[in-house]
């Protein structure tokens, strides 16, 4: 068990959608990670495609910097595209 690596698992629910992170699992290599992901995360028909990525290859933002990184976006409403009227003919926006 200690020799197994941690893999992050991404599932595409159906064709056309993005792969989404669903969880992680342990495996000795990428091939095993893929097979295990199929059994652990798609046994109830949750997906049509799987990506696995070794967790150590994910570069993540530092949780301690959460406020300085993300809070400044809070009061910048002008970044949202809500300040112009939409033509009635445009249905799906």
């Amino acid at each position: 068990m200690s020799e197994l690596k941690l893999y992050e698992v991404f599932i595409r629910a159906k064709s056309g959608l993005n792969h989404r992170h669903v969880g992680s699992l342990h495996a000795s290599d990428a091939q095993m990670a893929l097979l295990n992901a199929r059994d652990v995360y798609t046994r109830r028909k949750e997906g049509v495609s799987i990506w696995v990525v070794e967790a150590e290859h994910v570069t993540a933002s530092n949780p301690e910097q959460e406020h300085e990184w993300f809070d400044p976006a809070e009061d910048k409403v002008y970044r949202h595209p809500t300040f112009y009227p939409l033509d009635k003919e445009v249905e799906n926006m």
Binding site: M1, L25, H26, Q31, L35, N36, R38, R43
Partner: protein, 255 residues
């Protein structure tokens, strides 16, 4: 074509298929909660349920052919060991993980070529069942094939164990290809494929993979036989006692 098929022969053959899958599934289910780690625990029991599912399909087909209005459940839970027609390899205790995986690899390879052949059966319900099972078996084979590779080419302990599993199991495999008069009849009617051909495909596939995994086939040993006639190892009785207990103690109970 369907009308000319010998129902008795087909019934016996379906039981052989079903009994093989059920005993495999039951042995795999014994890993539930005992897998080497969580992910593999889930995977083993997934395969177990697939195999029990295949057994269920074949039992239902057999039940429809039976004169005595049997149900699939009765066939699975109310027959004794001497009425089971699986080859002995499928009833062997699960052993260690290497033993389970080697057995699984032999059976997955066998089932792959078997169902590939049965997909062309002149008996349409059997062809459809085989096509469905084949889809799942392809995945099972991919799994056991890569596990063999992983175990044999990794640590000394793992390769020692997988070689031991091969030594212990090898002479149980010839029984998989045994045929009898009823099966020959079905072969002539195009219901089942040629078991001689099946053996050739299995042999060449397995030999190649063993070479790839740097495993050595044992040269001599006691060759298992008897399952087709209902002569089993001592292990099947114990397995059925546990598996059938509930249905025998509380007849017709449902959950």
């Amino acid at each position: 074509m369907t009308n000319s098929i010998d129902n008795k022969a087909l019934y016996a053959y379906l039981l052989r298929l079903a009994d093989s899958s059920l005993t495999m599934g039951q042995r795999l289910a014994e890993w539930c909660g005992h897998g080497p780690y969580l992910e593999e625990d889930v995977a083993l029991t997934n395969v177990s349920l697939d195999m029990i599912g295949h057994a269920n399909i074949f039992y239902q087909m057999a039940a429809e052919l039976s004169d005595e209005a049997q149900t699939a459940d009765e066939l699975a839970f109310l027959r004794d060991a001497h009425q089971y027609r699986n080859p002995i390899i499928t009833e062997l205790p699960k052993g260690d993980f290497a033993f389970t995986m080697m057995k699984q690899y032999f059976m997955d390879t066998f089932n792959f070529f078997l169902y590939e052949g049965l997909s062309q059966s002149s008996h349409e319900p059997l062809a459809l069942a085989a096509q469905k099972a084949l889809m799942e078996v392809k995945y099972h084979l991919k799994r056991s094939e890569t596990w063999l590779e992983r175990l044999s080419l990794s640590t000394e302990e793992a390769s020692k164990r997988i070689q031991k599993a091969l030594d212990d199991l090898w002479f149980y495999t010839p029984e998989l290809f045994e045929t009898d008069a009823t099966m020959n009849k079905l072969f002539q009617q195009g219901v089942i494929g040629d078991y001689g051909e099946l053996k050739k495909k299995w042999d060449s596939h397995v030999q190649a993979h063993m070479n790839h995994c740097e495993l050595n086939l044992p040269e001599t040993g006691w060759v298992a036989t008897g399952g087709l006639e209902g002569e089993h190892s001592e292990h099947l009785g114990y397995m059925l006692a546990e598996m059938q207990f509930l249905q025998r103690a509380y007849p017709n109970s449902q959950w």
